[in-house]
Amino acid sequence: DAGITQSPRHKVTETGTPVTLRCHQTENHRYMYWYRQDPGHGLRLIHYSYGVKDTDKGEVSDGYSVSRSKTEDFLLTLESATSSQTSVYFCAISESGTFSGANVLTFGAGSRLTVL
């Protein structure tokens, strides 16, 4: 997990509260991603970023927002957490995000979020 850190690693919160997860990279990679991992669903893409202030939606973006004000930081915000957002969240980075590159991902260690 060198070069990419997620915080917090564990969080328990209550329904309706806002939650922000942070992803920090030291690799200077252009592309950053947020995935969630749930049993039976594998990994599903929430949002991704292809540069500072450039973001786009993934497969399961409802209820989530992101921001990227610096190359190294990508924040995932749950404005009002719900129990269905209980999951393990993974941040990933890649040097290339298009077909011109391989788009190989490096993952963080994950953030386990429990919404009661």
Binding site: L45, F99, L105, A109
Partner: protein
């Protein structure tokens, strides 16, 4: 959904045996990748095979790709207890703007 399917969902073998995991996907791809996840950790990239390749090797790993059947397989030869992990395929679909779409994973248990 573009999400691929993997089978088996779980596989239990003895040390020294070979382990084969399969992945199917739905639409044309640029490349297909395999990742490994140890319990409680993030995913780690293992190997990538491009759409114009049919087979690729890396150490004890062998990956095949059949684009006509939209399927791939990962073979781990002479497995070790340390290979115990979940394995995921991920497809870079041509019509998905460069985003990787992951399968649901195969949980491999290698018993000493």
């Amino acid at each position: 959904s573009q999400q691929g399917e993997e089978d088996p969902q779980a596989l239990s073998i003895q040390e020294g045996e070979n382990a084969t995991m399969n992945c199917s996907y739905k639409t044309s791809i640029n490349n297909l990748q395999w990742y490994r996840q140890n319990s409680g950790r993030g995913l780690v990239h293992l190997i990538l095979i491009r759409s114009n390749e049919r087979e690729k090797h890396s150490g004890r790993l062998r990956v095949t790709l059949d684009t006509s059947k939209k399927s791939s397989s990962l073979l781990i030869t002479a497995s070790r207890a340390a290979d115990t992990a979940s394995y995921f395929c991920a497809a870079l679909h041509i019509n998905q703007g460069g985003k990787l779409i992951f399968g649901q994973g195969t949980e491999l248990s290698v018993k000493p």
